[in-house]
């Protein structure tokens, strides 16, 4: 059982989190208009209700004890269809939900927002929950793909850190609730890169040519390029996009790999030495090789947030709400710190983890406690994005008609 029982003394540090050698120096780029989280000021600071975990009798193989859902609602549905990112939900969460509620969880996975959007907009899907990233949320709302959330059925919302709520892409969280957040910025291998880059612009230095990895994401990378030119990441101006294309073309010659799936692999393998990736990848890469560092670019990193949303045609609404409440319940959601350590928006989960010392096994079979995980998380500027970095960040948004321009520019540069 969590909290109460275990008394850890000297536990091994399983996740060695590198202390950043260069502390992030967030500087707001003068011309860019940051649309950071902080600008959307929460309407009211709600006092977080106290949370007391109640164990069930279900114990997982790794030692995790399934908590009791709070509240536990009776379900009529027999199953729930998740359409989520590949490898983004702890196995324990899935197992516990199925055991506690006795219904089947069907999980389909996607590895790109566009894939999810294409499937959903083609209609004829029976998904109950999807995980869209911020920039595509607006589009999905406009296309009528999502349904309004009934916040009365979402008590879990009270445990969320308000800085992740009410953001520009869904101002009142009518359609989405946050899942995980993160940034895209610069990563480098300190063993191999002698002069660490501090800004996106630095990546153009000839010494880095041939050693770069970039996300295969036209909006993020062209966005970063736009930032170096002093333009907005969401510009629709063909001239600006063209300029970014020309500028990026210089960089592209030195890019060895475009990979928005698992860039860390190439970093760890030594195929590439630096580039632009997102937080989670950097964190995991650092776990394998502590020399891999993450830097918030001077221009301001690209910030993003993955969210849960319910498709319009979801057939199992009761189960979908039950899933949201249970899977993000504080004594459940701290599992993310162990399994998928991105920026965690559930303050309740962090608070819970801080003081829990029940031992569970991590993926490598080592014993860890939530408290260790919490410490590692809080101490890492990679996962626990500094507020300044968040403020200076730029959020990608849908650009409508200009999207083909981005795509063409992207194809053109890569296809040369």
């Amino acid at each position: 059982a969590p909290a109460a029982t275990s008394t850890p003394t000297a536990q091994p540090q399983p996740t060695t989190v590198p202390k950043p050698t260069t502390p992030p120096q967030p500087t707001t780029a003068p011309t860019a208009a940051p649309i950071a989280a902080a600008t959307a000021v929460p309407t009211a600071e709600l006092a977080m209700p106290p949370f007391v975990s109640k164990p069930t009798t279900h114990v997982m193989a790794d030692g995790y004890v399934c908590p009791e859902p709070q509240p536990k609602v009776p379900l009529t549905s027999k199953e729930v269809n998740l359409f989520v990112w590949t490898e983004y939900i702890p196995q324990d969460t899935l197992d516990c939900f199925q055991l506690v509620y006795g219904i089947k969880v069907n999980r389909d996975e996607y590895s790109a927002n566009e894939e999810m959007y294409a499937k959903l907009s083609a209609g004829s899907t029976n998904y109950d929950l999807v995980q869209p990233t911020d920039f595509i949320v607006g589009l999905m709302i406009r296309q009528g793909l999502l349904q309004k959330l009934d916040k009365g059925k979402l008590p879990v919302l009270s445990y969320f850190d308000s800085k992740y709520l009410n953001l520009g892409f869904d101002p009142n969280n009518d359609y989405t609730i946050p899942y995980q957040a993160g940034t895209d910025s610069i990563v480098y291998n300190a063993d191999k890169v002698k002069t660490p880059p501090t800004s996106f612009a630095d990546l153009w230095k000839p010494e880095y040519a041939g050693r770069l990895v970039m996300l295969d994401d036209s909006r993020a990378i062209l966005g970063a390029t736009l930032l170096t030119l002093g333009y907005d990441v969401n510009t629709k101006d063909p001239a600006q996009i063209d300029a970014a294309k020309t500028k990026f073309a210089e960089l592209a010659k030195g890019v060895k790999l475009f990979d928005s799936d698992s860039p860390k692999t190439a970093l760890i393998a030594g195929d590439v030495d630096l580039g632009i990736t997102w937080t989670g990848e950097a964190f995991l890469a650092a776990k394998e090789n502590p020399s891999i560092k993450y830097v918030y670019a001077k221009e301001g990193a690209i910030v993003w947030q993955d969210n849960y949303a319910i498709p319009k045609s979801a057939p199992h609404l009761d189960a979908a709400y039950a899933w949201l409440n249970y899977s993000m319940q504080p004594d459940m959601f701290w599992l993310m710190l162990r399994d998928f350590p991105y920026t965690n928006p559930v303050q309740g989960a962090l608070d819970y983890a801080k003081s829990d010392t029940a031992k569970v096994k991590d993926a490598d079979g080592n014993d860890v406690t939530p408290a260790d995980l919490y410490k590692a998380y809080i101490d890492s500027p990679v996962t626990n994005t500094p507020l300044e970095a968040l403020k200076a960040g730029h959020r990608i948004d849908d650009v409508g008609d200009a999207l083909p321009l981005y795509d063409k520019a992207w194809t053109e540069v890569k296809g040369q």
Binding site: E114, A269, D271, G400, K414
Partner: protein
């Protein structure tokens, strides 16, 4: 009377037998293809939905027609002029050929003239192509045509290398003792049964800089120091990696039909060729090769067509930098959310493969060897 009734009955039976397959093809092939054709003339709204209309924009964009039309001064006038001047004499060759063909048998001098001009025509043609490409890339937006060209090139090399690797093996198997033949063929099939994606993944492990290949090479280099210092090869995330992956994926599809063709050749034909004084090489060129052509044609289609359309190999092994038509199309349906443009690209791709395969099968004949096993 009875015969007519019988014929009608047989016609009815035939129709009944074919109809499930035909229905399937109409519903899941013909209609979808028509939908794609219709979509390809459409447009895109800001949210990426298809606007059904009739416009050739997608096609002109694919062909690289600049949005404002061609700039008349885009290419220096000197090029076409030069091309004309260089090409002019080769017209003589063509003319002679034309006239002599008309005249049913040519005079000796005409023949000499024609032969003399033959190499020249080739040179001129090469030059024309060169000039054409230059003018095109100067005046038009060569991006998409370039991608098509690259896909064609890759498909060409893949097919060629797959033949080069597959032919000897197919020959080897076809000439093996009948008992071993099954086993040998079976061994070719097994990799096919693993899984397309997993096979590509295996090549990542092999080809990466710290991968198995470099590991082996490094071991060799250490064992044989006189070869000089070892420098790891960098193959992964290059066009060569894609080529290797494609060859690996599609090699069995070439071997199987080619084996079927080669196995059918009777041994007595080799004996006859030897009896008539042909050596091994000549027997191969004059007997084996032509007789195995149908299998090669079938294999080529089974390799060329999927290579033209696939996007996974280039995705995974090409580091997302090797963009083929398949990738282009896939991006339009996903990342760029421009299904109309993607449809147009699909149509172009389909027409291109159709034209090439039809020409190819007409030229070399198409046997039943498409499949073996």
């Amino acid at each position: 009377m009875m015969l007519k009734r019988l014929r009608e009955r047989r016609s009815l039976q035939g129709t009944l037998l074919i109809s499930p397959a035909l229905l399937w093809m109409i519903v899941l092939l013909i209609i979808p293809l028509l939908l794609v054709v219709v979509t390809s003339f459409g447009g895109r709204d800001p949210d990426g939905n298809v606007i059904y209309q009739f416009s050739l924009d997608n096609y002109t964009r694919l062909m690289g027609v600049p949005s404002g039309g061609f700039d008349p001064n885009c290419a220096p006038i000197a090029w076409p002029a030069l091309a004309a001047i260089i090409g002019l004499p080769s017209l003589v060759g063509i003319l002679v050929r034309f006239v002599s063909r008309r005249a049913q048998g040519e005079s000796r001098s005409a023949a000499i003239l024609r032969r003399a001009f033959k190499p020249y025509v080739f040179v001129a043609a090469a030059f024309w192509v060169y000039v054409g490409v230059n003018i095109y890339s100067a005046c038009a937006d060569a991006l998409y045509v370039g991608i098509l060209g690259r896909s064609l090139e890759l498909a060409f090399w893949t097919t060629l290398l797959v033949i080069a690797l597959g032919y000897p093996l197919a020959y080897f198997i076809a000439r093996a003792a009948p008992k071993r033949r099954n086993l040998l063929l079976f061994l070719v099939l097994i990799p096919l049964w693993t899984n397309f994606v997993i096979r590509v993944y295996a090549w990542i492990i092999i080809l990466r800089e710290s991968g198995v290949l470099n590991g082996i090479l490094a071991t060799i280099a250490t064992a044989l120091p006189f070869l000089g210092p070892f420098k790891p090869t960098e193959i992964l995330y290059t066009q060569n990696a894609v080529l290797i992956g494609m060859i690996y994926e599609f090699l069995p599809f070439m071997i199987l039909p080619m084996f079927t063709s080669l196995e059918k050749i009777e041994v007595s034909l080799y004996e006859a060729a030897a009896d008539l004084g042909a050596n091994t090489l000549k027997t191969f060129l004059r007997v084996t090769l032509p007789l195995s052509l149908p299998g090669m044609v079938a294999g080529t289609i089974l390799v060329f067509v999927p290579v033209m359309g696939t996007f996974i190999v280039s995705d995974i092994l090409g580091g997302r930098q090797v963009i083929l038509v398949g990738n282009l199309i896939q991006r339009q349906f996903l990342d760029a959310r421009d299904p109309a443009f993607g449809s147009a690209a699909s149509i172009i791709l389909m027409v291109m493969t159709l034209v090439i395969t039809i020409y190819y099968t007409r030229r070399f004949g198409f046997g039943e060897e498409v499949t073996a096993a």
